[in-house]
């Protein structure tokens, strides 16, 4: 009996020891981590404010990317803001909302070579830092194309900031600070949509005279189509076609506006062959633009399943008999790289400074708040 007892005790000892050994005691203090990270952002902003002497800040908010072409596009955009006299007196910052993109941009970028590191902090950290540095005016400019799911997140960051959600900002300061919101590219159907159509035609008009220019937007599946913003793609196509019927706008994810639907509309309009150009309708040219739109080769074409979602636009239209050429037909530029379109975003920023009434728009989206 004694033996069995000692066996049981021993077994308990093994189990307990094994458990202790395998449990990693949590020595990471979560609050401290968060604060530590925020402090670093606060310091960076504070240093910038001190250096520039500016009292106002513009925060450009994008989803983000890990591509060099995208980093360059954001650099160019930031530089364009800084060079624009309308934004004199503003410090300009760029924010990503994708954690993965933030992480990789900060850790990569030739750290080992001592080269530039890009810290695209998330909007909440930037806003808090602006508050800590007590900028008199904070303007958040959405770099989204349509006022959809992503845009609501931008608004929510601003609300959290205004509500002092971490309770460590100066409430008196918060009651005085001027908060402004710049709208996404295709917000206003009467003003923005024709303006973007015109800006695109200014660059690609000559191409549209030779053949079809098809733009590929992202779009949202039905369940994610916040405020039915998908409709802007259709409206943009209409506006473009008023200028030249050779323009088409399709998407990756918007129902009934996939590449097949673009093809059907082209055929209905009697365009069954001829030259074709492809251009992303996204702020920057990343994965989707390169793979879904511009992917070339057998990897992007399944002859057994021509309608497959995995087939690229390039292969899909090539196989339908349109003339596409890898070097000429793929116009691999994000909208931020098209100066005329970028200017429309910047105009939105300027409008926000001029106190354009976004309030009504904002409240209609969130009636309950």
């Amino acid at each position: 009996m004694m033996k069995i007892k000692s066996l049981l005790i021993a077994m308990a000892a093994v189990a307990a020891t094994a458990f202790t050994l395998s449990s990693c005691s949590s020595d990471d203090d979560p609050v401290n981590n968060y604060t530590q990270y925020q402090n670093a952002v606060d310091q960076e902003v504070s240093a910038q404010k001190q250096k520039s002497g500016n009292k106002k800040a513009i925060l450009l908010v994008a989803f983000g990317s890990t591509w060099q072409q995208a980093f360059d596009a954001f650099d160019t955009t930031k530089a364009a803001y800084e060079a624009d006299s309308r934004f004199k007196g503003y410090d300009v910052f760029v924010s990503y909302s994708s954690a993965i993109c933030i992480n990789r941009a900060a850790a990569g970028e030739h750290v080992a070579d001592g080269a530039q590191v890009r810290n695209y902090y998330a909007p909440n950290f930037w806003l808090h830092a602006f508050g800590a540095a007590k900028y008199d005016e904070i303007l958040v400019q959405s770099l989204q194309v349509i006022p959809g799911e992503e845009f609501t997140r931008v608004i929510n960051y601003m609300k959290d900031f205004a509500n002092n959600s971490l309770r460590d900002l100066d409430d008196e300061y918060l009651s005085k600070v001027t908060l402004r919101l710049g709208a996404p590219l295709l917000t206003d159907v009467d003003k923005d949509v024709p303006a973007v159509a015109k800006a695109l035609d200014a660059v690609y008009g000559s191409k549209a005279k030779n053949g079809v220019v098809a733009f590929m937007g992202h779009g949202n599946p039905n369940d994610y189509d916040t405020y039915s913003a998908n409709v802007r793609y259709t409206q943009l196509e209409e506006a473009l076609q008023e200028i030249n019927p050779n323009y088409y706008v399709g998407t990756v994810d918007m129902p009934d506006n996939y590449k097949q639907n673009v093809g059907e509309r082209m055929e209905l309009n009697g365009i069954k062959s001829g030259k074709m150009y492809l251009h992303p309708l996204m702020s920057i040219a990343g994965d989707h633009a390169h793979n879904d739109m511009g992917g070339v080769g057998e990897e992007y074409w399944d002859p057994m399943d021509p309608e497959s979602e995995d087939n690229s636009w390039f292969e899909y239209f090539s196989n339908k008999g349109y003339e596409l050429n890898e070097n000429e037909s793929i116009l691999m530029f994000g909208l931020l790289e098209v100066a005329g379109v970028r200017k429309i975003w910047m105009d939105h920023t300027a409008n926000a400074i001029a106190d354009e009434a976004l309030d009504e728009y904002y409240h209609s989206m969130f009636p309950e708040e």
């Binding site: 000892a13 094994a18 890990t66 591509w67 080992a112 799911e149 920057i284 633009a289």
Partner: protein, 708 residues
């Protein structure tokens, strides 16, 4: 270190003994298929064996290398997420890996960590294909691999050390200490596996082009270690008990000098902490009949170990969910903690009229804690089962083995799975027919998991699916075998038909469940959503051929060939049709061959030398290209030094793997046929020392299929 010492001390206070150790070390005997001892020739359920002799000659550095090199049925693609083991076309999820009859626990994406098995402590490996054995769970839909470890029953003190060093700083350490004192037996094992990893190509497809200076490796640097202790105690002639436990750690190091945020920049390493504690015993009822009982607890915890500041899902100081909780270099973050408690009872009874009855039961409780990967952070599951199996030698030439396993799962209810095998013996010929049903419920991960994973330049969003149904299978096999003292030939055909097979398939973004915070983006970075789904139908079928021939007492040759085909469909609701699905990693043809020679030159020196070849045709995948066909050849030599009967013996193993330097240099992000680094060298030195009697570890056997 303190912890390890305290573990050993804690274990030192234990009273114990070994299970049915002796049954595992009897020469030429296999146990996996039926749970009872049979000569390989007469086992009713077709069993493939990798013997100690083959293991010694081949000098495999890992279980992957051993199974991949000495059979044709397995394939591997070692990577961060495990070994990608496949047995006859089905993945690790469907393969039950046992260590001395106990289930190996813990997975990443369905992959067991084979580093938990010390390759230098393996006595023999038995492989039974299909869900043929009622004993080990019907979820062994593809088959069972039973790793039988070395048992040290010598009296006195036994010590051994094996040190292996190879290319790319490949280090393997094995240390064993066995002490037998009176009714006590203690065995302590330490193992370490390390490699610096290698890079077969610096080319990587990213940002719409191929870059030529990616830092991503083909196989990353890793280190894993394990300390285990087993204590056993003979209460009496009829009752023995044991207790054992181990701890294991692993870290996979990813490059930190990458230049491309889109592909080779990583901000965390992968880290594992595993542990096990178990106890049990055996009660001999009479000369033939016995009962065994085991209780086993296992843990597999998986962490990110950060190498740079990283924002992750978490909770801000207000307790509000955020996508931006920061972690700093050096900190870790639990991804998942799988715990399993398993209790088993088994009895073997020799009944009148040539019947052997094997009955038992098993209760298994799985608990998953994954704070950020499972809705509500936790999930659990239980399965209880009982089984009975009868081996009936109806006639001298006819054996019928029938069994049934009754399974009850907490969420998926009841399922009975029958198994039936028949063996007809005619002299040296055997014909074996088998049919078995399998039953596998979705794992907590398959049901509830949700996580983003970056692989190269792509970001995948993996989703569990709470609407999954349990999988069932029907496995049929027919085999013929000829086996005499010199020559063995067998051919086996099989068909494994799965219903509701669960597999990851790409889904349109519109099918991502609403409310998922992971669906983001304005198109700048693409997320590829993949979800676990039941397939409408899936089958794998093929033929395995094994051949071995002992040309003389010193020279042997043989080989295996495996043909495989698969056919699977998944319903596509968008187009209302069935789409054919490739079972990832499937290859039609796989083979291996060997030629070994051994000679004792003087009483104190014996040489064994072998040449081994293995190959595979193209491997097929759903995404990211197919893996290239390959063949790899290896030369292995073993030098046994020292006289038998002396306390100390020595062995040196030297070899060259992949002598023709086959390297798959397909750019990163695409699938490889093989991750082999090309030509590599290794040398292993082993010392064994024993103070007691009976210590001849030098082999005396004459055939690769014979045991020492």
């Amino acid at each position: 270190m303190k912890r390890i010492v305290s573990l050993i001390l804690a274990m030192g206070s234990i009273v114990v003994y070994a299970q049915d150790e002796k049954q595992y070390t009897l020469p030429g005997v296999v146990v996996t298929g039926t749970g009872t001892q049979h000569l390989l020739k007469d086992v009713p359920v077709q069993t493939e064996v990798i013997s100690r002799k083959m293991l010694d000659n081949y000098s495999g550095k890992s279980l992957e290398e051993i199974l991949g090199g000495l059979t044709a049925s397995f394939s591997f693609n070692e990577g961060d997420m495990g070994s990608q083991l496949q047995l006859n076309g089905l993945g690790n999820n469907y393969v039950l890996i046992l260590v001395d009859g106990k289930r190996l626990h813990g997975d990443n994406g369905g992959e067991n960590d084979l580093g938990l098995i010390d390759p230098h402590n393996v006595e023999r490996i038995e492989i039974v294909k299909g869900a043929q054995s009622a004993l080990y769970g019907s979820d062994a839909i593809a088959g069972v691999i039973n790793i039988i470890t070395k048992k040290h029953t010598e009296s006195g003190v036994y010590l051994e050390n094996t040190s292996r060093y190879g290319s790319y700083n490949d280090i393997r350490q094995h240390n064993g200490v066995s002490v037998k004192y009176g009714k006590w037996t203690s065995y302590t094992n330490f193992q370490l596996q390390h490699t610096d990893g290698w890079q077969n190509t610096a080319d990587e497809y990213t940002e719409g082009t191929i870059v030529h200076d990616s830092k991503n490796k083909t196989v990353n640097k890793y280190t894993n270690w394990q300390v285990s202790e087993r204590l056993s105690y003979d209460f009496s002639k009829n009752l023995s008990l044991y207790a054992e436990g181990w701890v294991y750690g692993k870290r996979i190091y990813r490059p930190t000098d990458g230049h491309y945020p889109s592909c080779d920049v990583h901000t965390y390493d992968l880290m594992y902490r595993n542990a096990s504690a178990s106890t049990g015993g055996q009660w001999k009822i009479n000369k033939t009949d016995y009962l065994t009982f085991d209780v086993d607890w296992n843990r597999h915890a998986y962490y990110y170990k950060y190498t740079a500041t990283t924002l992750e899902d978490g909770y801000d100081p207000n307790g509000k969910f955020t996508n931006y909780f920061p972690y700093f270099a050096g900190q870790k973050n639990l991804q998942s903690d799988q715990q399993r408690t398993l209790a088993t009872v088994k009895g073997v009874f020799y009944l009148p009229a040539q019947n052997i009855l094997n009955v038992g039961g098993e209760f298994r409780y799985d608990y998953l804690n994954a704070p950020m990967r499972v809705v509500d952070g936790k999930a659990s599951d239980w399965t209880g089962s009982i089984y009975a199996q009868d081996e009936f030698n109806l006639l001298k030439w006819l054996n019928i083995t029938g069994g049934i396993r009754l399974n009850q799962n907490g969420a998926f209810g009841f399922k009975a799975t029958p198994k039936l095998s028949t063996m007809i013996s005619m002299g040296d010929f055997r014909i074996r027919l088998g049919w078995s049903q399998g039953f596998k419920t979705p794992t907590p991960k398959e049901l509830h998991y949700r996580y983003l994973r970056q692989m190269g330049s792509k970001t995948y969003y993996y989703m569990g699916n709470e609407d999954l149904d349990a999988q069932t299978s029907n496995y049929w096999s027919a085999g013929a075998e000829y086996r005499d003292n010199r020559f063995t030939f067998s051919v086996t055909g099989y068909l494994n038909k799965l219903e509701n097979m669960i597999t990851l398939v790409n889904i349109p973004v519109g099918e991502i469940p609403v409310g998922s915070t992971q669906y983001l983006g304005d198109g700048s970075n693409e997320i590829i959503p993949r979800m676990y789904k039941n397939m409408e139908d899936a089958k794998t079928y093929g033929v395995d051929v094994n051949l071995s021939y002992k040309i003389s007492s010193e020279l042997s040759t043989g080989g295996n060939y495996s043909y495989l085909d698969t056919d699977a469909h998944v319903y596509d609701p968008k187009h209302d049709r069935l789409n054919a699905v490739t079972i990832d990693g499937m290859a039609h043809h796989k083979w291996n061959v060997y030629l070994t020679w051994n000679h004792r030159f003087v009483p104190t020196y014996r040489l064994s030398a072998g040449i081994y070849g293995r190959g595979s045709s193209k491997r097929y995948y759903q995404n990211d290209g197919n893996g290239k066909a390959y063949q790899i050849w290896r030369i292995a030599t073993t030098h046994d030094l020292g006289k038998s009967g002396k306390p100390a013996t020595y062995r040196l193993e030297v070899g060259v793997d992949n002598i023709f330097n086959f390297v798959d240099r397909t750019p990163h992000d695409y699938h490889l046929g093989t991750t082999s680094a090309g030509t590599t060298f290794y040398a292993t030195f082993s010392v064994k020392f024993n103070t007691g009697k009976k210590i001849n570890h030098l082999t005396t056997k004459k055939d690769n299929y014979d045991e020492d």
